[in-house]
Symmetry: C3
Subunit: 134 residues, 3 copies
């Protein structure tokens, strides 16, 4: 299992972590298997989406900000219930197929760390599981 750290700069932002995921797979020398990218935080998430046009993550976050407001009828005293709701919708992990030594991603897909309550120092894990049939 590999552990990665990053620093976010804004309250809400997506950071492209595709290179780290590919690196974790390469370093384990696994040709075929599964790869789990896991976020251990409750106000952040992992997603897979288009990483060609930065307006895509921008639009996703603008939509989420407008429909899951920061200030609302919440009770959680830390004032970040919106971040927990966003994390529940997007989810704490993504599972990728490893094929030919690389993460099987579509042409436009990248893996993103989703910050919903930054800026903060954050961590994510990549677990590579070799196919026992390999």
């Amino acid at each position: 299992m590999q552990k990665y750290q990053l620093r976010t700069r804004n309250r809400v932002e997506f950071q492209d972590i595709t290179a780290s995921v590919a690196d974790a797979i390469r370093s384990q020398q696994v040709d075929s298997g599964l790869c789990v990218v896991y976020c251990p935080h409750t106000t952040a998430a992992i997603t897979i989406n288009e990483n060609a046009d930065p307006d895509v993550p921008r639009d996703i976050n603008a939509f989420m900000n407008s429909t899951i407001p920061h200030r609302g009828d919440y009770r959680h005293a830390e004032g970040n219930s919106d971040s927990h709701i966003k994390a529940a919708y997007v989810g704490p992990s993504q599972t990728l197929i490893i094929h030919a030594g690389r993460p099987l991603l579509g042409r436009w897909q990248g893996v993103f760390f989703c910050e919903f309550d930054g800026p903060r120092d954050r961590t994510f894990y990549v677990k590579v599981m070799k196919d026992p049939h390999e």
Copy 2:
């Protein structure tokens, strides 16, 4: 694979099932691998979020109830389309990394069974897969 049963008490509620997940891993004596927590129902889900302050699941459910209303412009005759929509957003399973014989969870993370159409008797499964490199 382990099968667990629980009873929910309300139409909508989250039940913390972290102890069952940890128990399933321990009973399989797997040190390193993956663990899938799976919900076989279409009006319930599995999520991972903060289990320290009960206001967090309360706020998530209050938000979902207000934005995904029980009564709406739905056609499904059972009257629980909201529950199916919530299940689609949160998802039927979570995949955890097993590290050092335990589920790799962040400090504030717990695993929840999400009831969206209770009260009912419910089931979930935990599948533990040992890393063949272990």
Copy 3:
């Protein structure tokens, strides 16, 4: 790993792919393990929900269409930001438990390919991982 192709007929629709998933598992002759159903597109997704009453996917899509509008305050020039947002909420993959040679699904559950920007020719992958303890 198996690759499957399908053609969608509408901008938004769910296609039941449960038979393909079961077929992929059967063809690998795996009795116990995990199965990942993966969508390589950024405007489509994979979900698990009720496949008995077609009003369930109909209601899920009607709800998503009304709350995640096609035309909105988006910047992404392709005009399909709603599709990317829906894909982020539903997610690009589902992980299933394989038990007794079949996908472990609840009585009412089916696996769906979710088209959010069709009609198009689409692809999905099914990766079967045998439990090394089997």
